[in-house]
């Protein structure tokens, strides 16, 4: 008789989710599913609204990564305006996007995942959180909070608010960077870099303890999708699509961003409100790919900043000649990207052009269709709009970073559950590893489903007759 385990809600993630594990007669995990349980419908209520409202409106999908939506939406609106925005506006948008990358990655690593890594996957659940870290290793907690604060403060200096700044608009940004603001941000970079460097070092020292997790937490071959710069470098704001296969060979390169629909299809499944994007030529579900920090580092030829490039070299040595395939190493890639983000912001800020006052192109809606693509902290984010002749929205499609990883997360949950969970002897630590693999992807489910609410997770164990035999809830 088979049974089912439900983990509901999944904890220490952003948004609502549950995991269902189906057990066979022998108590082993036969199948596993990651469900998104809430629905918001942003794409629908964008319809009828004037397109210049879209950056602010779509950013409301998320309070963690509103800047990603601002970037992708503003770019889609630039496309509707049919303008090339001033060079400085592009650099300023890039700056804010990187500030968000730093704060969001810091949140994921320190606040959500460090407890698993520093206190251990089997540590007491009551302590396995940022407060446990604070008690055990206050310096790490302080570092995490400070690093996140640095990213958030940079966003505030640029846009006037830490969350939902209204500064990024169709055609550019609505205020230039003053010299005083430039100096303020520059002054924060060295401290941020010091924290990022010591965190990366301490993570590298930890990695050895997690060889079993590295092997079984979502370690499988897949394709990788990300933006790269036209020269092949690490890219978060613009560039072109690149797809690599599991062997590391480039499948597609230099695909213009407006051609996303040529390579990405979207499937739906009855068990989740999150869509299942897939690589179109490979079909569904074979077209599984991963996005996010791991994919970006696997895909790029170089980072373009000294410390990050050195770190990338070490990262590549994990699986020489091949992409790094373990989802556990999303954490590693995230920490390298924090280093990169801070270094790159430093580069941008010493560019004399960054304080130019030409930061906005003005035009009316000249195209009826606009596509904006950028790299959010969790992966590639696509906004696609259609408007009528008066500039009112008639259709919107948002492909969210977390959505791209949906197939991969489901596979990763199944793999880790099959390895760690024994239905005959259910252990909290084993279930935590099933949740931990989800945390590797740092899913933002409020974005992915346009879900709404708090952030819990539940695991349920269901037998073959559909009866719930056990449940772990937080």
């Amino acid at each position: 008789m088979s049974r089912t385990i439900k983990i509901e809600p999944v904890s220490r993630i952003e948004g609502h989710a549950k995991i269902t594990l189906t057990l066979g007669d022998d108590g082993r995990v036969e199948d596993a599913r990651f469900h998104l349980t809430q629905f918001r419908g942003f794409e629908k209520f964008c319809e009828g609204r004037p397109f210049p409202e879209m950056p602010a409106l779509t950013a409301r999908t998320c309070g963690i990564c509103p800047v990603s939506h601002l970037v992708a939406s503003s770019k889609a609106c630039d496309h509707l305006l049919s303008v090339a925005i001033p060079v400085t506006a592009g650099k300023l948008r890039r700056l804010m996007n990187l500030a968000q990358l730093v704060q969001s990655h810091a949140l994921s690593y320190f606040h959500l995942s460090s407890a698993d890594l520093l206190l251990g996957m089997d540590s007491a659940p009551e302590q396995r959180n940022i407060f446990g870290i604070l008690a055990e290793n206050p310096q790490v907690a302080r570092d995490g909070i400070r690093l996140r604060q640095i990213g958030q403060t940079i966003i505030e200096i640029l846009g006037g608010k830490k969350i939902h700044p209204g500064w990024m608009v169709p055609g550019g940004v609505n205020a230039p960077l003053a010299e005083e603001q430039r100096q303020k941000i520059l002054a924060m970079i060295p401290e941020g870099l010091e924290i990022a460097k010591r965190t990366l070092s301490s993570f590298k020292a930890l990695v050895g303890r997690f060889s079993e997790e590295i092997e079984h937490l979502g370690n499988f071959p897949s394709m990788y999708l990300s933006l790269v710069s036209p020269e092949g470098g690490l890219e978060h704001y613009d560039g072109v699509f690149r797809i690599k296969n599991a062997e590391g060979a480039i499948v597609l390169d230099k695909v213009p961003l407006v051609d996303y629909a040529r390579i990405i299809g979207e499937a739906v499944e009855p068990f989740s409100y999150m869509k299942f994007p897939y690589y179109l030529p490979a079909g569904y579900p074979n077209g599984i790919y991963r996005v996010g920090p791991l994919a970006r580092l696997n895909n790029c030829d170089f980072c373009g900043t000294p410390l990050a490039d050195a770190a990338l070299e070490e990262f590549r040595a994990l699986q020489p000649g091949k992409p790094v395939s373990s989802s556990f190493h999303f954490h590693y890639a995230r920490l390298i990207e924090i280093v990169y983000g801070l270094e790159r912001m430093g580069q941008l800020l010493i560019d004399p052009e960054i304080t130019s006052t030409r930061v906005r192109a003005r035009a009316r809606g000249n195209n009826s269709e606009g596509i904006g693509v950028a790299e959010a902290p969790r992966g590639t984010l696509i906004h696609h709009y259609k408007t009528d002749a008066d500039g009112l929205m008639t259709w919107a499609n948002l492909i969210i970073a977390t959505g791209h990883n949906n197939l991969a997360m489901n596979r990763a949950v199944k793999q880790s559950a099959q390895h760690f969970v024994d239905g005959n002897d259910l252990k909290e630590g084993a279930l935590n590893r099933v949740e931990a693999v989800i945390r590797c992807y740092d899913p933002c489910l409020s974005c992915a489903s346009h879900a709404f609410g708090q952030m819990p997770l539940e695991i349920e164990l269901v037998d073959a007759s559909g009866e719930v035999v056990d449940r772990v809830t937080r």
Partner: protein, 247 residues
Amino acid sequence: MARHPATPAAAPKVRVVTLKIDGHDIGAREDETILNAANDNGIRIPTLCYLEGLSEWGACRMCVVEVAGSPKLMTACSTRVAEGMEVTTNSDRLQRYRRTILELLFAERNHICSVCVSNGHCELQSLARACGMDHVRVPYRNAAYAVDSSHDLFRIDQNRCILCTRCVRVCDEIEGAHTWDVMGRGVDSQVITDLNQPWGQSTSCTGCSKCVQVCPTGALVKKGTAAGEMEKQGGFLPYLTEMRGNR
């Protein structure tokens, strides 16, 4: 009786009355409104549909005051002063009424400030803050209204309209075009251009933007503005009115 055009008209005799507003003894011309008399004496009464330079309308009821001896509340913008009147402009009851009026306005149409182009520059929003409206206790209607973006320069978002009719009055009384009017009754009322034609097809609209500048919310806005970017410049109105005299 024949007129004598050569004789200058005698200035109308207007009496001065004395009254009390919030306990202060005040003298005012008998043809003045309570609102004017209060303003002249530095007593501020919240207003929304009222705008200096336009005719009084009394639609929003934000300026309600208590007048001793009257069981019902009076609108300060459209009630004349009278000898011996005792007016209270601020009390728990008035605050409660004003907050309720604001809640009803917010519940009637879609006023989601955070994504509105007038966010931070909206009279409705400022009043809500000033009056301590931190909740809406009545259910939102969630009715969908059309957005007319057909004009070359401006847009009307009926979702944000509070039917103050400032646009109707400024277009009629100051610009003289009378492009705007009100259609329908009760909750179905809407401001319209010409005979409910798309604004972009209006033959009477001069494109002067006065309606946009006096609109207190994000209903009438300049096209191309993103959230929070629409700042109104309504200061021209008293000047225009004064320079035109009664013409």
